[in-house]
Symmetry: C2
Subunit: 517 residues, 2 copies
């Protein structure tokens, strides 16, 4: 500045950004304004300005930080998937766009229950909401610490955190009352969240840093699913796609770049090993693969980490039921064939059951078996998902045969055996090359929005484009559900290839699982 | 909500505002979002939503508060003029637009010096800025307390505070480093201030309430002047107007609804009684009016509150010098006529002086007198103002004769005797009917923006329209200043009526001040 040009420090920055970078409507908030004078002079009027650029025409561009000298190459962001069980995070270099570190931590809320409903109940207790908020924040803080340690990035160099979680997790992180998420008609407090100062949430990040949350669609289709739609590229494909994230709730999105519909299906905990006599989470000792001798009905079992078997995880359960069904050990209703001669098939307390591991070989010292009640629980879960897919397709006037792509997201999706999933009728029959495994699509979506403003603009457009269906309100869903309670389905025309295979298997042709061939 | 319409609580409010009130781009911040669920249900979905409406096309409308039931008629705002000496506040009923209470308090910063420069020096010391900020906030808090007590309004019912102050006061309230305001080339940290949460400034207001500061023009033309331009209606008049606020700095704005130019003139403290041997602030005992017998040169004196005289305040000084000059007791250079025979005119330590009050009659026990040095200090002050007005007019190609309106703002302006001001050449010669006394124009401007969004939009337009001149940078200002160091001016053609009057007075015609006639 000189006497002929003595505009304010703030106006000088605004003018420079406008004239040299075409950035208009610049707003400098109070904490940054308080630093401007010193920083400009410390840097001899050469400074680095970090801006949260608007994603809409004519919006405001917020100055997040100002530093003396050139710090262009030191600017970092976080992307975090806030899961009910696990929190995954990555540290992004905003200059190169590269991922510098990855880390995960359990969600500390887990000691108050494994599913979102128990967390909501906890949040309804006195000071419960504050507690859930603090646990979410402290779990994220642990991930941040790990990421900083791994990458050598300094805390002060973090500019933003992009986060996605299901609707309940998003509510708890922001301390929004989740009460009505678990009560009809399932109304969340909000589905769009404005950018929030990280320190307002108790996150260990610099004062100037902001948290951006992925918007949700409804109480049971959350920001994690929206992020998955972004991360998987579904929002920009021409192909008619089915996006599916299977857990306690199965979230389904169908559509393409033009239109999108979604729904949540209450699958119950079977896919996570819940409600199954010997079910367990996917941890060391869980049966994750299984095959059966077509004549002796003796099993071959592989466990996670090759430990002595402790139980059955969700992906293992799927493979076991598919194999038992394919060899005719269970029928299309999920009942054991009473006449098969094998010591492994026996009548137990809950009706017929199949012994997977004898007590002498198990890690627990007791038999590990699968009951007809277990199978029925599984059928309910898979029926909820498939009926959801079929109902949603019918609502938009399409059929399973129209699907050009199936996108599998989430942990269960990553470990899901496609062949088995089709055999039991969990997923529609599509060619393997049409299936895309995206893993943690939520984290991928956060990573994408974290590094690109274009993606952030698309998120808003995508959310506006998604139509949510409450399946319980759709006439015909219940019928679809009942029809899907069979293996693979009452309507075998939906599964022509499975039908073919079953015919061969039942006619004596031995089919051996791929892995063993 | 029901199953067929189970959008989020937030989306429901946004939809209602859009559909029923045409309010678009509604943003609900985190603290309000945290209340929504409970408030909607407590009010059986009948609620009052308070919005800070955007002042620009396509801007965002922020939800400030949500309350169960109908609170339309209970919504209040504050307007505050943050003066260097005194803080004035009013409490506004936003439903009726009426003023419910008025209050004033000294600015507690005053114990660290009377003028802005000493406050800046204080702010430069370690923890000095925090101290100045806290004192500004606590002084405002006292005004707020008074206003609430007077009006019976509850603290929680306050929605906003609109505030104006000079550039230094605005900086100190926001804890912005004012250091360069007192150093060439006089660069403030910022002149535009975004809306700020009241609690972020330590103000005793509800969490959701916001503070809006009037934007400044430069280091010495502050938000108080902009507010005065608004409050006086100058921004929308067709008349070519001179707005003038006289204090330690004289701020001048010239223009009309089409264009505006402004400048600050460093007048020194004479108009506030500073730098004058017996000068004092306008308090009880200050000589506020004066007349002189044309033959005996004996004075007649009126003091504030009719107390025994203690000294001379700024407005009194103006009247005294005008009267002495008009009767020829002092000449056009401000020197006493040595040959006049009166015991009151004598040679003192600082050269010739005139005794206003003998010690026997004064409240101090000592003589109260006016010296030639005092008169010279006054001349410097009035010359700075007049030269500023004339220079600014010439910069835009106009002359004093073009002025159609003179607007006097500020405390000094309110008590200023127009006749005297013209006689000494402080103000240009205009007919009395062209003069508008607005009093505290700054407070009036805050009050107007506090109740009307239209005015707030105009403020932004007005500030963009104002061109600031640094007089020290304008060629010719120094000459104007020197030419103005005489009574009324070296160029008597500028003061034809004063010239006429002086001729009559000097030719023996007795002229008696209006008040006495």
């Amino acid at each position: 500045p000189d006497a002929a040009d003595n505009m304010s420090d703030g106006a000088r920055i605004v003018r420079y950004l406008r004239e040299k970078h075409g950035v208009h409507r610049v707003v400098i908030n109070l904490p940054v304004t308080r630093k401007i004078r010193r920083v400009l002079r410390d840097g001899d009027f050469k400074v680095t300005v970090t801006i949260a650029k608007t994603i809409r025409e004519g919006g405001k561009n917020f100055v997040l930080n100002i530093q003396a000298g050139n710090w262009l190459e030191r600017n970092f962001a976080l992307a975090v998937d806030l899961g009910t069980t696990t929190i995954y995070g990555v540290l992004l270099d905003l200059y190169t766009g590269r991922v510098l570190a990855k880390a995960a931590e359990y969600n500390e809320q887990i000691s108050y229950g494994e599913d979102v409903i128990s967390r909501i109940i906890q949040a309804e207790k006195p000071r419960g909401l504050e507690l859930m908020q603090e646990l979410a924040a402290s779990s994220i803080n642990k991930v941040i610490e790990k990421l900083l340690r791994q990458s050598g990035v300094d805390l002060d160099e973090l500019t933003s955190l992009t986060l996605a979680g299901n609707t309940t997790m998003s509510h708890l992180l922001l301390a929004l009352e989740p009460h009505n998420i678990r009560r009809t008609p399932y109304v969340p407090v909000n589905t769009f969240f404005p950018p929030i100062r990280a320190t307002d949430l108790g996150l260990k990040m610099p004062d100037h840093s902001v948290v951006m949350l992925y918007p949700a669609i409804s109480s049971y289709v959350g920001g994690d699913i929206v992020a998955g739609v972004m991360g998987s590229g579904m929002y920009r494909t021409d192909k008619l796609s089915l996006f599916i994230d299977i857990g306690t709730n199965g979230e389904i999105v169908i559509g393409n770049r033009e239109w999108l519909v979604c729904s949540a299906c209450s699958a119950g905990p079977a896919f996570e090993g819940g409600g199954i006599t010997h079910g367990m989470r996917a941890a060391a000792g869980a049966i994750r693969d299984f095959s059966i001798h077509p004549l002796t009905y003796e099993p071959m079992i592989i466990t996670i980490a090759n430990r002595p078997p402790l139980g059955i995880c969700g992906s293992g359960l799927l493979i076991i039921i598919a194999a038992l069904f394919e060899l005719g050990v269970i029928d299309h209703r999920g009942y054991f064939q009473r006449e098969l001669e094998s010591p492994r098939i026996r009548q137990g307390r809950d009706g017929y059951e199949y012994v997977l591991v004898w007590g002498s070989e198990s890690g627990t010292g007791s038999d590990i078996f699968l009951t007809e009640v277990d199978i029925e629980n599984f059928l309910r879960a898979k029926a909820a998902i498939f009926a959801g897919v079929k109902t949603l397709l019918e609502e938009v006037g399409l059929t399973v045969a129209d699907l050009e792509q199936v996108i599998l997201a989430g942990t269960f999706g990553s470990f899901l055996d496609l062949d088995s999933a089709v055999t039991v009728g969990l997923l529609p029959e599509v060619e393997p090359e049409k299936v895309l495994y995206v893993g943690n699509g939520s984290l991928m979506g956060c990573w994408m929005s974290g590094v690109s403003n274009h993606i952030r603009r698309h998120v808003v457009e995508v959310v506006r484009r998604i139509t949510n269906f409450e399946l319980s309100e759709v006439i015909g869903f219940k019928d679809q559900y009942v029809a899907s309670m069979f293996l693979p389905h009452t309507d075998l025309a939906l599964f022509p290839y499975v039908g073919e295979r079953l015919k061969s298997a039942r006619s004596g042709t031995v089919r051996v699982r791929k892995e063993e061939s």
